[in-house]
Symmetry: C2
C-alpha cells in the first residue's frame, strides 16, 4: 500500500517520534511505501487565508471553500497546498498521528485539514461519506493522551472515545470518503513506565501488520438518510453521533 | 459583565463579521464591557513551539504543557500568549465565534486554545471541570454552518450537535471550569435568504439580552466520577459523552 503519515509533534525525542519511526520501519518491512508530512519540521502554515489563492472567482468577498474549488480547477492553489493534495490523492492509507490536545488535533494538523481537504477534490457537489472524494482509501487516527484509559471509557470523565473523536473520524475522514480503521491510542504516555511504552510500540506494529484486513468502523452511508437528512424510519442508529448510546 | 469575544473569520464582508458587530452593539448597549481577539486581523500565531517559552525547565526535550506551567510561573511566556491570558482571566463571559470547519474550530482558533489555555492557570494539578481555572465564568459557542439544521439533528447526517461540539463545549470550555451556555448556531448561512440571515442576527441579540440568566448546559461534576474516573454506580449519564443517547 501507499501510506501517507501526517505527523504533528515538535520533539524528536518524544514518544510520538519513536512511534513514527517504528511505524515507518514496520510498514517498509511489510513492503509498503511510506511518505511523511512532518508538519512542524515542514513549518507547515495552518492558517487559511486569501494568500492560498493565486486566482479569485469572487474577488470582493472571500468565500474560502468556493475559492478552493475554483483555484483547484485553475491550478492556482498555493504550492504548499498543492503538494499536500498530491500526497493525499496518491495514498491508499492516510494516518493522522498526533497528541490529543483539548480532545482534538493540534492546530497545525487542523490547518492541514482546513487547507488540504479542498472543496472539489475531497468533497463537494454532494460528494461526501461513501461518495466522498477519498473513497477507496483507508484512514486511521493514531494518538496519544495524557488521560487515563478509564477517562475515555464510555462513561469516563472525558467521554467515550468515539464521541471525542467524532469530528475527526466521522466529520473529517469518513466525510471525505475514507474507510476509518479503529484508532490506535497510547494512553497517558507521560505517566506510564518504559515497559508500557514499549508495549504501545509493539501494539502499533502489530496493528500495522493487519492494516489491510482490519475491519473499519461503521458509519452510516448516505442511503440511510432521508430527504430531511435524518435517518430514515426503520434505520436504527449504529453510531454515537446519530443517537446510539456508548455501551456502558 | 466583562465579555471577551474570540473571533475567527477572515472577511470583513462576511455574515460572521455582521454577527460580531451586532453582538458588540447589543452587549455595549446593555452596559457590558467588550474586548475582542480578532485572530486573523491580529495575525495570531496558532502553532505551539518552543519559541513560546523564554525559559525552559526541561531544555533537552520539549514537553509543551509542563513548560507552559513553568513559564507562567516565571513570567516567561511569549508576549502574544501572555496578552491573551490577561484577557481570558479578565472576562466573565467568553464567546468563541467561528464558522464550523470540519465539525470544529478553524486552525487559528484551535491554536488560540492550544497556546492560551495554559497548564497552571486554566487547568492542572487536578483542577478541571467544576474545579477548573476558569470556574465562575460563562462561555458560549457561536458558530455558523454550511450544514442544514436537519443534518445536525440527533439522528442527522453530520450527527447530533452536542456530539459534534463535545470536544469544544465539554473538552475545552467545561474542562477549563466554565459554565457553558447553549450554543448559538446560524445554519447554512450561504444558502439561506437575506431575511433568514436577519433573523439570525436578531436571534443572537435576543440571546445576548438573556445572557446573565440563561441556564447552562449540564456536564457532570468531578464528584460524579469514581476513583476509576468513570461515573459512580447509581449516577445516570446525562450527557452524550458519558453514554446518554441524543433523543431522536
Amino acid at each position: 500500500m501507499k501510506v501517507l503519515i501526517v505527523f504533528a509533534h515538535q520533539e524528536a525525542q518524544s514518544f510520538n517520534a519513536a512511534l513514527l519511526a517504528r511505524s515507518v520501519a514496520e510498514l517498509t518491512a511489510l513492503g509498503h511505501t511510506v511518505r511523511i508530512s512532518d508538519l512542524y519540521a515542514m513549518r507547515f502554515n495552518p492558517v487559511a487565508t486569501s494568500d492560498d489563492f493565486g486566482a479569485r472567482r469572487f474577488p470582493d468577498r472571500l468565500q474560502y471553500d468556493r475559492e478552493q474549488k475554483y483555484n483547484l480547477q485553475q491550478g492556482a492553489l498555493s504550492g504548499d497546498i498543492a503538494a499536500e493534495i498530491e500526497k493525499l490523492l496518491w495514498c491508499d492509507l492516510l494516518i493522522l498521528q498526533f497528541p490529543l490536545w483539548w480532545f482534538s488535533v493540534p492546530a497545525i494538523m487542523k490547518g492541514w485539514i482546513d487547507r488540504v481537504f479542498v472543496n472539489g477534490a475531497v468533497y463537494g457537489a454532494g460528494r461526501r461519506y461513501d461518495t466522498g472524494g477519498l473513497a477507496g482509501r483507508r484512514a486511521m487516527v493514531v494518538t496519544s493522551t495524557a488521560a487515563y484509559p478509564g477517562m475515555c471509557a464510555p462513561d469516563g470523565l472525558v467521554g467515550a472515545l468515539d464521541v471525542v473523536l467524532w469530528p475527526i473520524q466521522n466529520g473529517t475522514l469518513a466525510y471525505a470518503g475514507c474507510k476509518v480503521l479503529p484508532p490506535f491510542v497510547s494512553y497517558s504516555v507521560n505517566f506510564v513506565d518504559e515497559a508500557t511504552r514499549h508495549r504501545y510500540l509493539d501494539g502499533y506494529a502489530e496493528r500495522l501488520r493487519r492494516i489491510e484486513t482490519t475491519e473499519p468502523l461503521f458509519f452510516h452511508p448516505l442511503a440511510d438518510f432521508g430527504e430531511d437528512w435524518r435517518l430514515k424510519p426503520g434505520i436504527a442508529a449504529q453510531t454515537v453521533g446519530q443517537g446510539k448510546p456508548a455501551s456502558r
